[in-house]
Amino acid sequence: MTSQISLAPPSTGGERTPVNGDSAHPRARTRGERFNWPVTIALLVCTLAVLIPLYVTLTMAFKTTAQAVDGNAFSLPAPFSVDGFVQAWTLTDFPRSFAISIGVSVISVVGTIILSAFAAFAISRNWNRRFFRWSFYYLLAAIFLPFPVLALSQVKLTGLLHLDNPIGVAILHITFQLGFSVLLFTAFLRSIPEELEESARLDGASTAQVFWQLIFPLLAPMSATVGIFAFLASWNDFVMPSLITSNPALQTLPVLQQIFQTQFSNNYNVSFASYLMAMAPAIIVYLFTQRWVMSGVTQGAIK
């Protein structure tokens, strides 16, 4: 939370401080502050759009089944019950499915960062060659291919290659994340002066050394951004693991959670308890890394 607050004001404050000396602007500034109701209201609505569902998730998770179906989503849990968590824990075999979800996400994050950094480095340093330019467009084109379009062929292919398991899911996550990540990395790489690389080469560094010891460390903020996007995409994915993974014992958390809700029965307390447990890592990861998400996106945008 503190990182979010400390990040935003300095960037705007930085613009304002010099402006303060200008005699024409203080009025504009106070007027802007006083009359910025539309923005405030819009932001308030946005905040509530996140906070209200989060509040309902929290309270629902601690309700009894009888209270969860009583039609009052906003009431506080009375009596307070952790029964939902207990049921969700056993029904999803939480420790195992959680470990598999984490495993898939970690492989997909690491793979995405390394592969797309490789590709982006090669492409941005060989931009004058047609092959590399076209391979960039080729990778970008993948952004426009959603998974459902390719679902059945991927199911068949992974089945043939015995990749119908979490490893296959992680590999597919990497490939589907590649286009967007290469785009981010390439934009960021253009902001790194080529002189740095030349000086390293003058000192006798090989391409591998240049990449691992110079470029990759410099890419760190962007790697964080790419990693967070890859993590969220992988952690929250439902369709791909549900289609690709054939062994039910190796299924990820979001897929196992589908059993809580059917056409004929509602177990809001159990499902929300489970959602809460599944949401926790994503929220925690984002809380600690949001600074890099923001800085990474803006750094990639400015050449």
Partner: protein, 428 residues
């Protein structure tokens, strides 16, 4: 600021990430290899059952089965995607699945093996076989063994009926009188939930059609019409369904005034709280009432749509059916577990616990007070498959039923269904 911060980061993360990822990857790969091999000597079969509320029961059955013999090990699967399993040619060895339109593609393409030669096939109640064939059929094969049958009709609040001294209606006129009694007492006769269109389709739509028409005969004739379904054909929706749909419109007048904005969950809550006397849902809702009002006394009766009590019928669907895919390499082991599941004491207990009716000739009558009202109709085979289940899912019949319930004139809507049916027939 950034270089300082970022230099130690990649060095740390690169190594530990790679080690961690490698360890996890190796673990997963090993687990993946371990699964098909399994315990030495025993045949491992996968058993698919996806009804969340019965997973626990089947887990105890699997444990019992493992105690009785050591040659077959059963692995339960509740999450696989069925189409994906068939696409990669590795479907579950034994399926226990809802027998509805989702099964049609597997049955009609011959993906399920013939089970006519096992002894359990002879025990199946012959009245149920036409129901199976009406949903999906592969010529010359017994593709599935039905496991449980769900009968649905009008659920009524027995306390309210007693309190206002009304008897269960057996004719349309009696039903209207019952409604008037409750209306005069300020109680909503029906609680309808139009927001969830499937509730309109399975309730108002199916009950009014099934109470008036011979549903399977209608659809058999309709299929022979091919693309020529319109006002001039021998049967058509606009000709045969007009009367039931008029009844639907009349019944909708006796519903709660906020029906348009209420969904299935709201209906369960309101009915359990005694806010309405009757509710057009199946026995699957009983467990939902129990969450709010465990002591509730519920009864069932078939919806009278005509003035002839002989027309009374209940809506049924084959809830669970067992099947073994053609491509399974462990058919014998799967059949062994199928026979275990079909033992009378196991199957009957399942059906009694889950508000369902049996599928065998020797199935005992239900003792569930909420279902006894339908036992006689089940025994007499006075039942029908829901018409909404026999219309291909490409035709949004639930939405059409909703618009009639909300006040549309039936004829234009039924003409639309005829047109949809004809277009679908032209394409297939």
């Amino acid at each position: 600021m950034h270089p300082q911060r970022s230099t130690p980061l990649p060095a740390l993360s690169r190594r530990s990430f790679l080690v961690g990822a490698g360890a996890i990857g190796a673990g997963l790969a090993l687990a993946g290899c371990a699964a098909p091999g399994g315990a030495a000597g025993a045949t491992e079969i996968s058993f698919y059952v996806s009804k969340p509320e019965v997973i626990g029961y089947f887990d105890t059955l699997i444990a019992e089965f493992h105690k009785t013999q050591s040659t077959v090990r059963v692995i339960r699967d509740s999450t696989s995607n069925m189409s994906a399993d068939f696409v990669r040619n590795r479907p579950p060895d034994l399926g226990c699945w809802n027998y509805n339109f989702s099964m049609v593609q597997f049955v009609e393409r011959g993906a399920l093996s013939d089970l006519s030669d096992i002894s359990e096939a002879d025990r199946i109640n012959p009245d149920i076989k036409p129901l199976l064939a009406a949903t999906a059929d592969y010529p010359g094969r017994t593709s599935v063994i039905p496991y449980s049958l769900t009968a649905a009709s009008v659920l009524y609040n027995r306390d309210l009926f007693e309190q206002y001294g009304v008897a269960v209606p057996t004719t349309w006129d009696e039903l209207v009188r019952v409604c008037e009694v409750f209306l005069a007492a300020g109680i909503s006769p029906f609680f309808n939930t139009y927001k969830d269109t499937w509730t309109v389709a399975q309730g108002l739509f199916d009950y009014t059609v099934g109470g008036m028409l011979d549903v399977s005969a209608f659809f058999t004739k309709l299929k022979t019409e091919g693309t020529a379904v319109d006002a001039r054909s021998a049967v058509s929706f606009q000709k045969d369904f007009e009367e039931p749909m008029t009844r639907l419109g009349e019944l909708a007048k006796y519903a709660n005034s906020n029906a348009a904005s209420r969904g299935y969950g709201d209906g369960n809550l309101a009915f359990a709280q005694g806010k309405a006397a009757m509710y057009l849902q199946g026995p699957w809702a009983l467990n939902e009432f129990a969450k709010t009002n465990p002591a509730m006394k519920v009864g069932t009766f078939p919806l009278p749509v005509t003035n002839d009590p002989g027309d009374l019928k209940v809506r049924v669907n084959v809830d669970l059916a067992l099947w073994i895919p053609e491509v399974s390499t462990k058919k014998d082991a799967a059949r062994q577990f199928l026979s275990f599941l079909m033992q009378p004491e196991i199957q009957n207990k399942y059906n009694a616990d889950n508000n369902a009716f049996g599928t065998t000739k020797d199935a005992p009558p239900t003792t569930n007070p909420a279902l006894v009202g339908m036992q006689q109709y089940y025994d007499d085979a006075a039942f029908y498959l829901g018409a909404s289940q026999l219309i291909p899912s490409g035709i949004p019949v639930a939405n059409y039923a909703q618009s009639i319930a909300l006040g549309s004139s039936p004829i234009p809507v039924l003409k639309q269904i005829d047109g949809d049916w004809a277009r679908l027939a032209l394409r297939s």
